[in-house]
Symmetry: C2
Subunit: 422 residues, 2 copies
């Protein structure tokens, strides 16, 4: 099979569909979302049957339990897919919004208008539910999408893709608004990220290695959902009890996700009062603390798993019940540490001083900068944006949770009355 | 010389300066712009002396007149540089603007706040005035900049870079806000576009070949100022005289720039009345018309340079007094032609029917979509944005003229009162 030709044809069809979607009304797109939900409901058995094939292969390959879990489509997960379609249907259509408008001395009326990006290429691993979420979000925002999932979920993805395409077709929109790549050779990724003529943005969702491969090879803009090395900084003017609660929640509430905290920075002036309470709480939850010498000295009598921290720890996304703890002498030192070792994702300051807070919120170069709340709030749902495509920690186009608006950009639309340039 | 190390050091210094700039007040940045203007004024003779070295080499290399012209820094051009600094000083500082704000049921206040991108890498050819324009724009928007100019302007660039850095230092801001690459081996471009840790965006300004090279190699987001294949579409309900004027102005007023029109699309219903007047006007200005068979038939008795058009013409940026002319049977055909052959830059419809116009403005997938005015208005100054970094015809982050706002993006700043996630 000529994979280059295969990919070019898929991408070309998606491009054509994206042009048709430019003219699609909100009601048409919403109708398609309803039909997709209906089709998923109707085809539960087929979905589970196709998914079972993938699960069988995965078990033969001796995939880990967590992997198998992500791959599995239970009735409950199918319910969630259906709910996703309904939720996204309920969100405001971002397309066509006039974000700015002014008139020039020569009478030209300049407007900036929100329009779909065009064709979105999503490269993801073994989570077949991404098919539905990504299709629903791109459709609502007037984009076509190319779904290039991993080989482990190929049967599930093809099945869901067909169901989604049927729903779109029933609503009178072009089924190529969703194109599923059935061929999972890695070469297809290479062709996708080079198809500049047909694809406007690449969104990788997967491990660090996949993201690096795509960044190295893509000639199309990439929106990266990258590692989360998030910090909590307990300032000298922090409410001690609040700081303990926020640091604890940021680390423990769900340690395996990107917006969990990895490092706790403590101002020297409060360390003596703060650390014993903090250490006791962490120890109670089985959190391993990797601390510097000064902190060690303060909690030398504390229980729990306490070890020495090293520089490598500060660069690590533990994704586990492990936290690095460091004493800092000033706000500036905290900020410098975060900008140097963090991943520009989410960082929170706990302080009662609003001026100190504002300084932190300005100087920390992260997508999500928080005052007096847990890093775990860094999330499209928690922000009230509805569903999200991921959390961007690059700095162009969109920072933080990427929701419907992030799937659009603004073009200039100019209204004249015959003006020519002198 | 170890160019990789050399570039990494430059980039690292720029990154550090960018963090310092996050905390710079508008008044400090404006003061730096005044000092830069003063330093340029004071150092006119040195600038011209250094520029003369570059001109001498260029003449020895037998560079073309247009090239030499772009390279030359006359007193008038130096005046313009000084004026640029003053103009940009007068523009509104985009940093810190709160673009959205809402409160969640749990009391969290979510805001989106405009912040600098960080470090901007500009790769440009033999136009030393870019040093001043780019430095002033990035400084005002709180960014650090790395200037990697072509070897032909190296003495001029180093000289201007030193002057700019002196001005910044006088204002108490870090001089590394502007880093000039003195080494012009092509290898330095490669290191720059791979320095992901230190550089946030690459802006190439130059020929198609340079842009392709950068797109192929960059792992950093690129904002492309690409070819302009712009269209004028004379609709069946166009005011004939207005359509003739707009098409003429779009082609003739300055044919060598990216927002000049390259193709004229004419609706069949008006071609008979429109084309003879149009052809006469084009012939009078020495414009070569490349026309399809139907148009040829209509203007068979017209004077002027009239040839047959072929498909390649539709893909070409002539940058000269040449225009392709094609008859279309419908608005849809015009839109399809533009989306297929255009460069998603600027396209204008002439029509008296506002519904037809709205359809065109929605369906044409270009950064700048115009109704009843010349394509030549596609320009930061004409839009009232002040100076610009270029015109983007990619679709992420910024479309069309990229001004101060395009040098920022929005981060989430969230204010809590101790909220943790349940």
């Amino acid at each position: 099979m000529d994979l280059e030709k295969y990919m070019a044809e898929k991408a070309k069809r998606a491009r054509e569909a994206s042009y048709a979607l430019l003219g699609a009304a909100t009601a048409e797109k919403d109708k398609a979302l309803s039909f997709i939900a209906e089709e998923i409901e109707k085809n539960r058995d087929i979905i589970k049957k196709e998914n079972a094939k993938d699960l069988e292969t995965a078990k033969k390959k001796k995939r880990k339990d967590a992997f198998i879990d992500r791959l599995t489509l239970t009735d409950k997960r199918i319910d969630t897919m259906i709910k996703n379609c309904a939720d996204i249907k309920g969100l405001k259509d971002p397309v066509g919004e006039v974000t700015r408008e002014w008139t020039r001395p020569n009478g030209l009326k300049i407007t900036k208008k929100r329009m779909p990006l065009g064709v979105v290429g999503i490269i993801f691993e073994a989570r077949p539910n991404v098919c539905v979420e990504a299709s629903a979000l791109t459709l609502k925002s007037g984009n076509a999408v190319i779904l290039r999932g991993g080989s482990d979920a190929v049967n599930s993805n093809i099945c869901l893709g067909n169901i989604i395409r049927d729903g779109i077709k029933k609503a009178g929109l072009p089924e190529s608004a969703v194109e599923v790549i059935e061929e999972t050779d890695r070469e297809t990724i290479l062709h996708l990220v080079k198809a500049k003529e047909f694809v406007d943005v690449i969104i990788p969702r997967g491990g660090v290695e996949l993201i690096r491969f795509i960044e190295e090879n893509s000639v199309i803009p990439v929106i990266r959902h990258d590692a989360g090395i998030c910090h909590v900084y307990a300032d000298k003017e922090a409410d001690i009890h609040m700081a303990v609660n926020i640091a604890f929640n940021s680390k423990v509430q769900r340690p395996g996700v990107c917006n969990a905290a990895e490092t706790l920075l403590v101002h020297k002036d409060i360390a003596g009062e703060f650390m014993p309470e903090m250490a006791e709480k962490f120890a109670g939850a089985g959190v391993e603390m990797r601390v510097d010498k000064d902190i060690k000295e303060i909690i030398k009598n504390a229980k729990g798993n306490i070890r020495a921290v090293n520089e490598d720890d500060f660069k690590k996304e533990h994704l586990a019940l492990v936290i690095s703890v460091k004493k800092v002498n000033s706000l500036e030192e905290a900020v410098a540490h975060i900008n140097k070792y963090g991943s520009h994702h989410t960082d929170s300051i706990v302080t009662e001083n609003p001026e100190t807070a504002e300084k932190f919120l300005t100087l920390v170069d992260s997508a999500d900068c928080f005052h007096n709340c847990s890093t775990r709030f860094s999330d499209g749902y928690e922000y009230g944006l509805g569903a999200e495509m991921g959390i961007s920690n690059q700095k162009l186009h969109v920072r933080g949770p990427m929701a419907l608006e992030g799937l659009t950009s603004e073009k200039f639309v100019v209204y004249g009355a015959g003006q020519i340039r002198e």
